[in-house]
């Protein structure tokens, strides 16, 4: 074959490939990409469920152990009950905890920096929500432990947390996977970027160790009553 034909063939081959690729890319835009996202979502859910199951299994084992001990006598019963109280106190936020995590500092920028908005309760509320979504196990704002009923709410000119007044700058501490917590806030186009666009000063710092104080109030239930489960 003359070299001329070789080059023509080559050019035609490339042209053909290009044509087809062009087709593919225009086609692709129409095709839904949802199936892959669904599979991803389900996989994440499956992983979470597996973790939950493992934790429940451990919990059941622990309870079985305690149960057989509690049946041995009064002293043992008291001891196991104390053990359960201690365990519940940690989860309920009545014990100070430490662990790896992040420290988030939020303050209103100065006028010269072009501050558009001052820091409001809803900004803190959203930051805390992001951290919770990223798996924060324990949280505090300016030394106030956040429990399930903690409010973060503007009252007059101050923000109240656990009905106590807190003042800026606001320091949020969270225990959890530092990388996950930090990236959930610092993600491009995320909440912290928006707050910074509004002129707020936000710093997010990964920490090897943060210490989160215990809830200072007492748990009192005037209206809520536990429902006895039919055993």
């Amino acid at each position: 074959m003359a070299p001329r034909y070789v080059s023509i063939t080559l050019v035609a081959l490339i042209l053909g490939l290009m044509l087809a690729v062009q087709f593919r890319t225009t086609n692709k835009e129409v095709e839904p990409t949802a199936p892959r996202d669904r599979a991803h979502e389900l996989t994440v859910e499956l992983k979470n469920l597996a973790e939950e199951r493992a934790r429940l299994e451990a919990e059941a084992e622990d309870l079985e152990r305690k149960l057989s001990r509690a049946r041995q006598g009064y002293a043992q019963a008291k001891e196991t009950l104390e053990g359960e109280v201690e365990k519940a106190a940690v989860i309920a936020g009545l014990t100070p905890v430490t662990g790896p995590g992040v420290r988030v500092l939020v303050a209103t920028g100065t006028q010269t920096q072009g501050a558009l908005f001052t820091v409001r309760d809803e900004d803190l509320l959203k930051l805390v929500n992001e951290l919770r979504a990223a798996g924060a196990e324990a949280l505090s704002i300016n030394g106030e432990r956040l429990i399930s009923t903690s409010e973060i709410r503007l009252a007059g000119s101050f923000i109240n947390v656990n009905t106590r007044k807190i003042t800026p700058p606001y320091e949020i501490l969270a225990v959890g996977d530092p990388a996950a917590l930090e990236s959930s806030l610092e993600i491009k186009g995320g909440l912290v970027e928006t707050l910074r666009d509004w002129g707020m000063m936000v710093t997010v710092e990964s920490m090897d160790k943060v210490r989160i104080p215990a809830y200072k109030g007492t748990l009192r239930y005037e209206y809520a009553r536990p429902v006895r489960e039919a055993a």
């Binding site: 199936p35 014990t95 309760d121 919770r132 979504a133």
Partner: protein, 226 residues
Amino acid sequence: MVGLFFGLLIALQIRLSQEIRETVPIQRVQKLTAEVQAARAERDELQQRVAALRAELDAATAETGLAPLRSKLERYRIETGLVPVSGPGVEVTLKDSGAALQPGQNPNLYVLHDEDVLRVLNELRAAGAEVLALNGERILSTTEIRCIGPAILINKTVRKTAPFVITAIGDPQTLNNSLEMPGGVVDTLQRFWGIQVSIREMAQVTIPAYKGSREFEYARPVKEAK
């Protein structure tokens, strides 16, 4: 000409195998869905076993001398979400805006956002709500509210769809008033974004226990010097 043809053929071949790969995710989704259902059933079963064991332990420690400890444990368990509770309270239903949009208005502004749910919850907390739930899912100290399309993802694995109903236990009147306050949360949601909010005072509502287990992976208790 032959080259052009070949090029097309090769590319077509690639496309075809690509297409086959495209259908794999559907099989995957089916398989994963089945697995998720099975895992959830197993989880629920385990959860019931744990609840039963807890009840047994309570029965085993029923001596009168232990009453103070038991009532302490009971209170702590309410906060941790591990026991179902009931009491008077309110039921707040949130729905997307029913108003017809003017041309040029951003429809996204008139649907319910996670921040709206967060604000209502926050307001109820400020008004002294003792226990909260969203569509029957217990609100814990670690609970996030995350909008995913038209659904809300809560407690990491639980998906809830509209209408969104927030249940709160507390003084019904106080809870209701705090929401209905002029210029308050509900006023803002309704007036600016057209979100439909209805509040019902209830003599008794029941909030189920959290379905998962609660354990910290990173947080360790600090031993206090006694």
